[in-house]
Symmetry: C2
Subunit: 215 residues, 2 copies
Amino acid sequence: MTQASARRPRADAQRNRERVLEAAEHLFAAMGLAAQTDDVAREAGVGVGTVYRHFPTKRLLVEAVIARRTESLLAAARAAIHDPDPGEAFRRTFTRGAELLGRNRAIAEDVAGGMNLPALPPGIKQALFAALSELATRAQSAGQLRADVCPADVVMLVSCVAHSVELAHRFDPGLRRRFVALVLDGLRPDVATPLPGHRLDLDDLHRLAARRGGH
Amino acid sequence: MTQASARRPRADAQRNRERVLEAAEHLFAAMGLAAQTDDVAREAGVGVGTVYRHFPTKRLLVEAVIARRTESLLAAARAAIHDPDPGEAFRRTFTRGAELLGRNRAIAEDVAGGMNLPALPPGIKQALFAALSELATRAQSAGQLRADVCPADVVMLVSCVAHSVELAHRFDPGLRRRFVALVLDGLRPDVATPLPGHRLDLDDLHRLAARRGGH
DNA sequence: TGACAAACGGAGTCGCGGCTCCGTATGCTT
DNA sequence: AAGCATACGGAGCCGCGACTCCGTTTGTCA
């Protein structure tokens, strides 16, 4: 068997890794994915080489940042599943997610542009979407969410909220909140002009993504 | 005064310009703005140099294509202003616009990512947004559209529809239609949880865009 | 039909941004 | 304190895609 792991990393390495993550969080939140690795390095007071040693790819750095910023939302979403008022639980979680997106441009861009499903092993994004779907289904059973939306619609709406974050950034911060309010109104069970087309769940979404991705 | 214009351009030049436009329309519709100028040239059976002689910039080529594909929608939008049923006129025009976006990936990307307001002299995009705002206002006066949405919201919704086109392309064509239906439901006057924040009209939007653009 | 302006083609340039390489510095262990 | 693995820095590389330049071709007009 191969000589396994890992004595504890050197102190400066650990410190620098933390600095890089913090710099990346700031820059990505403020400038989105357009922030360059060199900028992150400068902000962290570190050379580019160091950034790439800790995060061999820009994508990996981005995902590390997203993971850190998303954990508590995932916890909240999972807790909300047992809320006695499923409609409210869904709306609260949806809104809270929107606010996270509003606070971090890079996460918004990532969710808007990709929601690219083959993410990290832990798969926080998938977990979040799964929890949100669960919340939606419960709200539907309670008659507090229109019955004809499906998990794929919810994912799409989240992606559109992420898109509205970019617009809000470019024009007016208020736009995002107004959009979320409009969407939630459109999701009420009483309006409900039946939606065209067919329902898709998260698995269908994965399958379709894989097919198109494979070209 | 300077020697003014323009004897008629050479026959091959005219022919090539047309070929380039047509190739660009096909490629941009199918692959979005990711289609490269070299591809357009190849598809047109022409050298890159020729493309750049007729359209000195990729952006100018894109805008020429958009202008061609958008004219008839603008005419329809303007005609709809005099429709006796303003609610229906708004919804029909909104839907028709969404379908145009669904048919042309590049236009969708352009509307989603930029809706960058300083466009060509004719300013087709502005004209379209103006007409759509007018339609919305009339629908509101007739009590067929919630009173608290404003022109900026409508522009944002269009941009989000454009975004949903990308998702539809990547996952399932049905997603766009479902999104449009959801949004139109959210715009009905009877639901109307009041929207947060303040109203913005198109001029505000221009002003804000200019301020941010100037950094 | 000759001559010349107009147009063509496409190899090459250029800027950008992600990433690598390697000579130097530094923390840890003995 | 010496030695070595680990980590650092940042100049430079490389691929990509928009755009240019110039030698060649072609339409037009006298």
